[in-house]
Symmetry: C2
Subunit: 333 residues, 2 copies
DNA sequence: CCGATGGCGTAAAACGTTTAGCGACTGGCC
DNA sequence: GGCCAGTCGCTAAACGTTTTACGCCATCGG
């Protein structure tokens, strides 16, 4: 199984076997063949632990995502991201460790206590910090482990890749306005940086349109759930909203359900725009207008940025991916 | 950073430091304190490579899933699975490597060529083989790496965890029949073991109900896509089907879209039942009746089985998780 | 007071690689 | 012939742990 064994079988030294297998130095054709066939016979597989120990590289990175036990569906966004990361990993021959933490859990389950961080192991890490993250990020930086933030920004000099959440939401608000909607409600999250950006986009667009920001139309929650989405939508109907911007793919489902349950006509009585785009959103009735973010690309790019960092490039990159409006029918006419 | 350094700082030996940190032997209170505080000061993080090399254990497993580039949505099923696995991993302090392969790719990208398998590294692996898998599985077994199959069965003596696909589909067929549906079309996949099981369930239920299996009503595809789902649904409408069983969560979306585009009344003109259950399926109109499988649990359980194997237990376990019908409104009355 | 026991410390081997350094041989060139 | 360069092999160190084996000392039972 080990180089040693192959060395014994072929009568060569361990060093020669290693060179033959890795092509790290010239080896006579004769020896090379002997080594290769012996390796095949015994089914040699290099021991990564030894290699890592010697080279101080694992060719492995980790991605750490929040896993909200109340909101499993949010994970589907991360699945697209992960697949994007995987694509880059495949190209670069790295492996990917997927780790999670509970954003609402205590210190025990918080991001910096993730096992993968507390051990000297991966070459770098992609992190999706929760909102109260300044401290967390500092503690990661202190480890000296290369990292890139995803879907979150940080005040300090970290590399990060995010969506243009603000613009995405602002576009949606403008679309509502263009359809004559005047009382645009906002259902959002306060528990994450993205949630805050989306909220900011909402306010900004309203201001730009000279529309007042009515507090009664703004419903922020610390976390997302279907039930919470329903509740918010009900509240907004009571307040006489004529449009709902649900800045999260779970909330929008809840809101939609509530609207239908109340027998509201969409979009005549009340328009609705969601966030994130999935195929099914075109299947509901009416087909849902939504703000699309490029999840797969985000994964691919964040991996790329991390790879650059691992390659020793020092610059901090801040990459903002554009969102786009997927205009279907639920927003108005 | 290393034990050696802490040993120097405290004036103790490496061995003592190790014991103090790991609690593997009694260490005087005095020394223990010195070690712990020194470790905290320098931010000691154990080097996993060294530990792995010494202990011959990585406390890491991998899950290898097919990643069909035509059918990204199928991945959402695996996201639930992965979260289930993660839960177990969290409990057992293992890390999880997520790897993929292209089920339609050549040898280069096939399952046994996955890097994580070709290197001596993870303690065990969860595998979702593609359909032509007998050879692939054999080659994995030959590595002597503990493994458990997921969502697939194998003829030989491998442990595996699957859904009761056959029963799930048969239940759906019976439900159709109970609603007076007589010409039940089947849209399925031929490219995977699950697809075949679902097809078998369809045939079995028909036989049991003394209904003929009309070839014109059976549409099998090598792979899944929205477009293909639409195409199949159109074909089935032409053949005069009064019900469609779409045995895949992507196909069902395509089928639904085609039905709506054609202006068919659901379920009066034609009923439809899908596979897998997501929240959004209750949001479309009419709400979709579907066969639910326990994805999260499947992940948790398959991880559990693998853990048992790693614990040295020799038995092969075949676990079949029950499916359930989520009866909404699209199937009929 | 002696031998046994237990607590606590150390030295050193081992895990399987990679790689620097060195040596032996060959061939070509002055 | 002496020298140099190139080719290809080997030895041995190093990576950072865990763990065995051993030693020292204090305590305790007899």
């Amino acid at each position: 199984m080990s180089l040693k064994k192959i060395a014994e079988m072929t009568g060569l030294s361990i060093a020669t076997v290693s060179h033959a297998l890795n092509g790290t130095r010239a080896v006579s054709e004769d020896s090379r063949e002997k080594v290769l066939s012996a390796a095949k016979v015994v089914g040699y597989r290099p021991n990564m632990a030894a290699r890592m120990l010697r080279t101080q590289k694992s060719n492995t990175i980790a991605i750490i995502i929040p896993s909200d036990t109340n909101n499993m569906n949010a994970n589907y966004f991360y699945m697209d991201v992960i697949m994007g990361v995987r694509k880059k990993m495949f190209e670069t021959q790295y492996e990917l460790i997927v780790s999670t933490y509970d954003p609402h859990g205590g210190v025990q389950q918080s991001l910096p206590s993730a096992q993968v961080l507390r051990q000297h192991w991966v070459d770098g890490v992609i992190v999706v910090p929760s909102s109260h993250s300044q401290r967390q990020i500092r503690s990661i930086r202190e480890m000296g482990l290369p990292y890139v933030l995803m879907d979150r920004r940080s005040d300090d000099e970290s590399s990060c890749v995010t969506s243009n959440n603000k613009k995405g939401v602002a576009d949606a608000v403008r679309l509502f306005a263009a359809c004559g909607k005047r009382r645009i409600g906002f259902i959002g999250g306060i528990g994450s940086a993205t949630g805050q950006q989306r909220y900011a986009g909402y306010l900004e667009a309203l201001a730009e349109l000279n529309m007042p920001a009515d507090e009664a139309l703004i419903l922020l929650s610390p976390s997302y759930s279907l039930a919470r989405g329903e509740e918010c939508a009900v509240r907004l109907m009571e307040t006489g909203a004529d449009a709902i911007l649900a800045a999260d793919n779970v909330m929008v489902m809840g809101a939609l359900r509530a609207l239908k349950a109340a027998g509201a006509r969409i979009p005549e009585d009340i328009g609705i725009i969601g966030f994130d785009d999935y195929d099914w959103m075109g299947m509901v009735s009416p087909p849902l207008t939504t703000v699309r973010q490029q999840a797969f690309q985000m994964g691919y790019i964040v991996a790329e940025v991390l790879m650059r960092k691992l390659g020793g490039i020092k610059t901090n990159e801040v990459i903002v991916l554009d969102t786009s409006l997927v205009v279907r029918q639920s927003h108005g006419w």
